[in-house]
Amino acid sequence: MPELDIVDLSMRFDLPNGSSVQALQDVSLSLKEGELMSVLGPSGCGKTTLLNIVAGFLAPTSGKIELNGHLVEGPDAERGMVFQKGALFEWMNVRENVEFGPRMKGMPKAERDQISDHLLEVVGLQDFKDKAVYELSGGMQQRVALARCLANEPDVILMDEPLGALDALTREKMQGLVLKLWKETGKTIILITHSVEEALLLGERLIVMAPRPGRIHREYNLPFAERGVNADLRDVKKSEGFAEKRDEILSMIWEMEEEIMGRTEQAS
């Protein structure tokens, strides 16, 4: 039985000048438990809108989302979210950030500490428990964000370009960490990214979206995520089929961008 069902999702915004934007049109997807799906597409293709609807921050104009058979109508602890940056609470130290979800549920302190001790060790921050989050580097902050999300035991983890603000080296390390956490926890993950390489490396499934109206353009099932678990990601990038897939998707997105440019030129 599929866990997350996205059925005929459409989203239409009215603009102040009277026109309207079709951000999403008839998007249908279903994810099984434990699947890791990456979403790729040129800017303006509606991938963040899609994620916000799944998270429950936006209501679609038509269509519906079901998780384990019940309708998604708003944000909930069953769907955890990891943001690009700025979502940690600066007034709490690392441990308090990680324990936020359990604390809101009213879990006793001893139990929460057990969870945060374990998770901070998993993400390699056991020595930073009592630090303020603003004293940590960008990569460490994203580790805290991942741990905070996991501490709440969500069914689905939604990641909105979680590694987008990191430098290349840190990003590579964090990609390894995401794969490790995915395998260890068996969570269903939707990951939005701008980087084709990241989408290939981390996406067991890969969705390429096209803009205006935002829709699913192509879908791939890829072997690289499995290969990357507990392996050197640089070797995965050199492995069979990776370079070809990367070039294929890059030129696909390139064409879409060209098309957008052409269309705006005609319009103006």
């Binding site: 429950g56 769907r79 943001f83 979502a87």
Partner: protein
Amino acid sequence: MIVLLFYIGLFAGAFFIVYAMRRGLQSRQDFTSLKTVTFGDESAVRSDRAASIISVLVIFVIWAAFTGSKLFPIHVPGPFVGDTKFTYTLENADGSTDDATVFVRVPAFGEEAEKFEVEPGSGFAKDDAFAAPAGRSSTILFDKNDEAKRKEGAKIVAINGTPIGEGDKVDTGDGTVSLTGKGAISFTPKQGLQMNPIWLPAPETVVSRFFEIANEGYQNFSLWEHLGWSLARVIAGFIAGALVGIPLGYAMGLSGWFRGWFDPIVEFMRPVPPLALIPLVIIWFGIWETGKIVLLFLAALWIMTIAARAGVSGVNISKIHAAYSLGASKWQIMRYVIVPNSLPEIFTGARVAMGVCWGTVVAAELVAAQKGAGMMIIAASKFQLTDIVIMGIVLIGVIGYGIDILMRKAENWLVPWKGQS
């Protein structure tokens, strides 16, 4: 004008001396001192400790030099004080002349001029004795004891041998002599550059007045009661303003209905200076404590409202979304996200509000009060007790500065995450 020139001159001089001394001592080579581009790089501009010390010292030096302070050896020329004399040549109606001397005694500032006598001497013009106040011109009716009076046609033709007519001025060395329209002598002792203590008393006068008032009190209340009452009013008004303003600001930041409701009121009241409300507050609430606290409440209210609203609006939407998807309820988001996130803004607002309240309480006490820092200086000014006025101004400044330092310390302690997101 002269004071300003002195200030600039002293400061420029001090700058070159410190600069020369620094060149002699090789300074530290930290990162900032190795920067070559410093003009326009704000981070390379560091407040120079020496300049701050010199700045304060220069103010005191100028104050001491222009008031003839005993604490400081160098003074600008003071007014003439002591005994002096000049002679006048009187011409009789028949053309004969006679000389007589005017002895002038000028007491120090603030002292009474005492009358004294001299021998009249010979001739038809007799010597005069005159006690003149310092720094002001006074008319000497020289012919009271002369045998030839002005109304009989006698007139002065020379001072110290220098011919003089109406409108001329003769410098006698210690003062200036001119003739009035009726032919009398007008004598002005040299004024010098020093200030009359009624305008600006010497620093030591202010300090001794401070100790006097600290020990004995002023106008039925001790100094600490005056200052304490001002402070208590500020704190009462500020707390009342914060207690109403912060929830109001939160409501405006969280609900469209509240924002629409209060926006016109807040935006209208915000630019109205609290001082402009004094007359209305007096009419409505009277001149005593209620009126003052209401005024301070109004001064703090809008500032705190706007600060709290800005604090709520300033929360990164990612934080709110994250909290919701971690399962927090609305109340928990308020308690654990919105309130802590708005605290830095509220503290900034509180610092501004405390500053405004302190300024407003002094102004309100100027209008009507029995005790308070503002009342102290306005009462003293009515008796021309400039030393108390200056002491009061200094104390008001020191307390205002102290409040701001305390607020900043509290801010660093309570909201260390300020500016860190």
